[in-house]
Subunit: 322 residues, 2 copies
């Protein structure tokens, strides 16, 4: 379809989103092995760990060892997640991590209160402190985003009006400090979105902020991940987060069972088959997906790694015809 | 979105598509238990078994016992799959199965040759014999369809031109016998479709046969099932086949790993959340999905049954607020 983007940027979050939720423990060398495999797939951005309180997220206790253990591909930007000054300092101390700051608001105030123990106003104050700290440390602040942008297990449905009000608050904060936001992410953190709500939400944000590039971070807990990504593509969205093998989820989101992010290889497959370039090597992603499944030592919800690529079949048929 | 259909008909194929591919053996009483649960979900059409050669499809050797064992809900039309006169006669002998005939062509001639050992012309001749037999037996012939409509593991990509040529052949056969085709199904039997190819294929068929209701039969082997269904909805498609818990696949399609049809409960969930009526009770479908998983005795790819419905969360939040 002619209005789909020509190129889509896919940023990998599997090692961070995935390993934070695993009951584990996952051996550090397994994590490093997966990240090294991902580094050879054409991905330009890989989020490899989070510097968070190991008491709250035990799976990330080895974050520094992982960050120091990987083989650096100079083509790849390696990032880490962090939420406060302490986490930022740990990430900076590693040396080869690409450190920038993202300001994140929550469309759901209930989620904020339940998980971070603060309301919107208090959260904005905390973000102001963080922004000042980053400016002081010369850490670029060029990303912003909304979590639970389409619905929340603690609050319920998030209306388009509420989403826009949260985007407005985020942009006001960015303007307060003259920040140049390069990408604005909308995260369906708890898998409430449908293709229809993706279109309404993205459409409303684009109407109000037409020049702002939007990124979608989608979860597949209810099986809508790829359909939601497609709805995003139809709205011109050309940036996505995803997780190899569909690893991941949100450890605080009260989900039992097979949560998981939209799978990198499934998203790359859909784009590739629809003529959208991603710069990714699907065969290498399938290999990385198989490594991810080995490393977590349980079945994963990835489809392409099990169903196989179509190019592999095309190749076989071509050889048989020769 | 205003151009989505207001009501979608979902026909259940899990007991047939699912159990034909299971390594099994699945006990007959398990099959009956699942069908009885499906009968209480609001589904109006359930395909419960196939009358085929038990040497080729051992999982269907107990087809008659299943058909005779179920508790009939008079609101539900129970159907069986069959390919030849012998199968049709077995289905008719049961007495309470709704027996009609569907004429099915294959967009891929390679698939036809590999699996049914005949070419297109020979297949059309076989269908003529079948149609004559049905007319003679007063069996209505009101459905038609194309298998491997979007691509084939034996032939590769199926072009829109080739799809339309196959639809033309099917319609010519229908016209030859003055058949009144009520629904025309396009089956992505081997999971080659993407939302883009669904739109191109369905669009081309609708352009040429604007009054013909189209049904989509989608497989989720490569994770595109729900996205493809959404693309179909966007094209105005309001009839789908699906399988509870995502059971199923094609036993002849050379697929290893997690094949499977688009899951009934995931499709019903998407429709419901987008304001499209299906007449289905999602909670009852989730229960049936859990029974399906017990009956096949392995994990299934269904998402909603694991992730939970949103209405359950909305209900909980409402109660907590009171």
């Amino acid at each position: 379809m002619s209005d789909l983007p020509k190129f889509v940027h896919i940023a990998e979050e599997g090692p961070r989103e995935g390993f934070q939720i695993e009951k584990g423990p996952i051996p550090t060398e397994g994590k490093v092995r997966l990240i090294d495999a991902l580094s050879e797939t054409g991905l330009k951005h890989i989020q490899i760990c989070s510097f968070v309180n190991p008491k709250r997220v035990p799976g990330m206790a080895d974050a520094e060892a992982v960050a120091r253990g990987i083989k650096i591909n100079p083509e790849v930007e390696y990032t880490a997640l962090w939420f406060n000054e302490r986490g930022l300092e740990q990430a900076m101390a590693v040396g080869h991590l690409s450190v920038d700051c993202k300001i994140t608001l929550y469309a759901s105030e209930h989620f904020l209160i339940s998980n971070l123990n603060r309301d919107r106003a208090q959260h904005l104050d905390k973000l102001r402190d963080l922004v000042k700290f980053c400016i002081d440390k010369k850490v670029p602040i060029n990303r912003a985003g909304i979590n639970a942008a389409f619905g929340c297990n603690f609050e319920g449905d998030v209306s388009v009006e509420s989403l826009i009000a949260t985007v407005d608050d985020t942009m006001a904060l960015a303007n307060e400090f003259n920040l140049d936001i390069e990408a604005f992410s909308l995260a369906d953190s708890m898998a409430w979105a449908t293709p229809d709500s993706i279109k309404r939400g993205v459409g409303a944000v684009k109407d109000k902020y037409p020049d702002m590039p939007i990124l979608l971070h989608l979860h597949n807990t209810r099986g809508m991940g790829i359909a939601n990504a497609y709805a995003g593509l139809e709205m011109g969205v050309d940036r996505f987060d995803s997780s190899i093998a569909g690893l991941g989820g949100c450890p605080f989101a009260k989900h039992q069972g097979a949560a998981g992010n939209v799978a990198t290889e499934d998203l790359a497959f859909m784009c590739g088959e629809m003529g959208i370039e991603t710069g990714l090597d699907l065969d290498a992603l399938i290999e990385a997906s198989q490594i991810a499944t080995e490393v977590v030592a349980h079945d994963t919800p990835a489809c392409i790694a099990k169903g196989g690529s179509l190019n592999a079949i095309r190749q076989r048929l071509k050889q048989a015809a020769e």
